[in-house]
Amino acid sequence: MDWVNAVIQGILVGGLYALFATGLSLIFGVMRLVNIAHGDLIVLSSFLCLAIVSGLGLHPLIVLLIVVPVMFAIGYALQRGLLNFTLGPDILPPLLVTFGLSIVIQNALLEIFSADSQKLPAGALQTASLQIVEGLAVGVFPLIVFACAIVVIAGLQFLFYRTALGSAFRATSDDPDTARLMGIDNRHIFALAMAISLAVVALAGVFLGMRTSFDPSIGPGRLIYAFEAVIIGGLGSLWGTLAGGIILGVSQIVGGKLFPGADQLAGHVVFLILLVVRPRGLFPRAVD
């Protein structure tokens, strides 16, 4: 039963990793931009939530109603005011600029919040659990996170493949110049993509802060998890990203059980093995 338990915990953690990864995957898909600051934006959301929670005394899940729109707005402004100017035939400028942004965010957080570990108070949710069978229980909070991951991915899938805005996203991704001939303002489309990406980041950041302790330096580590989930799942596939997150989560928890202390290593090793076996990921997009 211990092993079943470990696999279930791993799957549920995978939901959080999928939330880390979805925003990264989305903006890479739409504008071929690799956002090195993605992990730090997750941590920024955690701290933003912390500041509001300690200021107003609200529950972090309620504060989501503030953090998600704020990060959405930050995403739009960031893309429109900065990152759009880095996009072009050369892939290096966006990498350099988001790398710089990563350092700026880390140091700003360090300056404001210090290097102390913080945690978002989850209240009774912290320990609530559901007994499934004798000896097997799952936490309510991890279940909520996992359910949110599924809802977010299903929602984005709907947005991308069933709406006019989704067609515009895909058209711009295919061919920005021809998309402009259709009347699509690609700067606006890119900004909307980043805004949606950071709205998901906000969700991920708040869940991260409720699950574990965080400090300004942990962003790059979350970025690695996000990268790994995206690559395992296959670039451009949202459901693949969820699968990638789950594989990463299960590998870490099962690995940590086999070799105590080696949970992160186990995740990386499984990622590398999959990269060798399936270089294009498990569910690569048919059209490339």
Binding site: D174, A179, R180, I184
Partner: protein
């Protein structure tokens, strides 16, 4: 008054000058063909008209209004649509989605997905097919349909016969009268001079970034065209 007019239009790719002062005019309801060899500047001229290449505001006038400095995504809403060279359909989108995205600018008018399906009936059955899974000729028809979906006053067709079989080219040009009847003014860029002469009211010939000849097809002699096209004087 002309529907569209350019005066002294120039275009550059970096240091390379591709167009040297093009004066061009097209009246409402007219069909104009632009002929010329590879590299004469025909496609560059169309790209300038659609705003993909920057220009001075006064260089291009649509119904008297200067539009030369507007970005491409604004121009289509003013009524200029382009069928780009090489079709440039969106591979991630189905046939129907490609058509619908043509209407993104929201211009009102007679064209709808159903009306495009009437014009090119094969699309009805293939509406859910990824656009780039179609044959070359069918893709060209989707590209024309996509441009029409913006209900343009002026339709620019860049080399729509390129790389297609003669029977397919005929099918495509057979759609032209229906487009003209809808009140759309048409510019076709063609390498096939016969085809260009057959469909147009007036012809412009480009050579090395300049207009070398302009006139109605029946006014132009074979030798005039040869000279304007190749720059060869008196060659047999």
């Amino acid at each position: 008054m002309s529907l569209l007019e350019t005066s002294g239009l120039t275009a550059f790719y970096g240091d390379f000058q591709a167009l040297f002062g093009i004066d061009f005019a097209i009246g409402e309801g007219e069909t104009v063909a632009i002929i010329g060899s590879n590299g004469a500047g025909k496609s560059t001229f169309l790209r300038s008209l659609t705003g993909l290449l920057p220009n001075a505001a006064e260089a291009i006038r649509l119904k008297g209004q200067p539009i030369g400095d507007l970005p491409a995504n604004r121009i289509v809403g003013l009524g200029i649509a382009m069928v780009p060279e090489g079709r440039k359909l969106f591979p991630s989108l189905t046939v129907e989605e490609n058509l619908k995205i043509g209407a993104y600018s929201g211009r009102e008018g007679a064209w709808s997905v159903d009306r495009i399906f009437q014009l090119f009936p094969f699309m009805t059955e293939r509406r859910q097919t990824p656009a780039t899974a179609l044959s070359g000729g069918q893709q060209q028809m989707v590209a024309i349909g996509r441009a029409l979906m913006s209900n343009p006053d002026l339709l620019l067709c860049d080399e729509i016969s390129l790389g297609l079989a003669p029977t397919v080219i005929k099918d495509i040009y057979d759609a032209l009268p229906a487009i003209q009847q809808a009140g759309t003014t048409v510019v076709v860029v063609e390498q096939d001079i016969q085809q260009a002469m057959a469909v147009s009211d007036r012809v412009y010939c480009f050579m090395e970034g300049r207009v070398t000849l302009e006139g109605a097809p029946d006014e132009l002699s074979h030798d005039d065209i040869k000279e304007a096209y190749f720059g060869l004087k008196g060659a047999a």
